[in-house]
């Protein structure tokens, strides 16, 4: 008898859970303004890469170095790049 009651409780609870589940619709809203901002950000980041890289390669050239040979050139690049990115915000 106990088993039967437990089975009924189980069926009842799972059944109500299924019934309460709602179907969700995904609404894709294309917002031109949002896209424009993202593109601007990407452009700015890309500019930052070129700018920081240009500076680092110039410094390395001035030192007669290959920037890939020394870790500190990457450090200089990262500092310039992240500093420049902050200006994009």
């Amino acid at each position: 008898m106990k088993k039967l009651i437990l089975c009924l409780v189980f069926i009842f609870t799972t059944g109500t859970n299924f019934l309460s589940a709602e179907s969700t619709e995904i609404n894709v809203v294309i917002d031109s303004e949002i896209i424009k901002i993202s593109e601007d950000d990407f452009g700015c980041a890309s500019d930052c890469v070129q700018w920081a890289k240009g500076l680092v390669f110039e410094i390395a050239d001035n030192n007669n170095d290959d920037p890939n040979d020394y870790q500190f050139y990457m450090d200089i690049y990262m500092r310039y790049y992240t500093g420049c990115l902050r200006g994009c915000e």
Binding site: V49, K53, G54, L55, E58, I59, N62, N63, N64, D65, D66, N68, Q71, F72, M74, D75, I76, Y77, M78, R79, Y80, G83, C84, R86, G87
Partner: protein, 242 residues
């Protein structure tokens, strides 16, 4: 028999006295790039105005920094004392060349001799990078730094065979410690010159009252120089693109 016994005793006594002569110490260096600006002005003529002005600004804004090498018989630790100023327009070139926020450890045990860089900046987590011993060329030139007899050693650029790094080391402090990842000479490095960057010992404290204790860094991933380079290439492919 007696002679052999005496010889053995002398050998062991000398061994104990040699290991007993452990030196603790702290060396303060002053790093500068003060000649970078004038050197660049003389050398560069045909550059884009914007790049030129940015680089001149970088050299002009670079400030001298102090760094420290602490050591005992088993380990050394090198780091820059001054903190890097976080400012968009102002990167301290000398600070970066002197090692920036990185820490450099050298292990000098019987089992292991290794130099590692602790880098927690570049990839957003802490890595302990194992450095290769530089290919030194020892020279027979000497000079005194802070009263210590120093000898010259250089590293040549394999591409053009020109000297890229010059250091002065002292066998009077007989450990193979150095600054940053420049190590492996028969004495502690007291001066380093790389292009317009130079760093010289300005204070040497040997066997201070309080013994120098250096803890090994924790929570850092151990990695080789090659592996770290691969990771940086993956994280920043744009830098390596031609």
């Amino acid at each position: 028999m007696k002679y052999t016994l005496n010889l053995t005793i002398v050998f062991f006594l000398s061994l104990f006295s040699a290991t007993g002569q452990s030196i603790n110490g702290k060396i303060t260096y002053l790093a500068t790039s003060k000649y970078a600006e004038s050197f660049y002005k003389k050398k560069v003529k045909k550059n884009k105005k914007e790049i030129k002005s940015n680089i001149l600004k970088l050299y002009k804004n670079s400030k001298d920094v102090y760094s420290i090498l602490e050591f005992n018989e088993n380990r050394s630790l090198y780091y820059v004392v001054d903190k890097m100023e976080i400012n968009n327009d102002n990167v301290n070139y000398t600070h970066i060349l002197a090692g920036s926020e990185k820490k450099f450890y050298t292990n000098n045990n019987l089992m292991i001799y290794q130099n590692n860089t602790l880098d927690c900046f570049l990839l957003g987590e802490c890595f302990l990078i194992e450095n290769k011993i530089p290919k030194w060329e020892l020279k027979n030139e000497a000079k005194k730094i802070q009263g210590f007899e120093c000898y010259r050693a250089v590293i040549k650029n394999p591409r053009n065979n020109k000297i890229s790094v010059e250091v002065w080391y002292t066998p009077e402090i007989p450990y193979q410690y150095g600054v940053m990842n420049y190590f492996g000479l028969p004495g502690v490095i007291l001066e380093i010159n790389r292009n317009t960057f130079s760093m010289t010992a300005i204070k040497i404290e040997l066997n201070p009252l309080e013994k120098i204790k250096i803890e090994e860094p924790k929570n850092a991933k151990k990695i080789t120089e090659k592996e770290f380079k691969e990771l940086t290439k993956k994280a920043m492919p744009e830098f390596y693109k031609n």
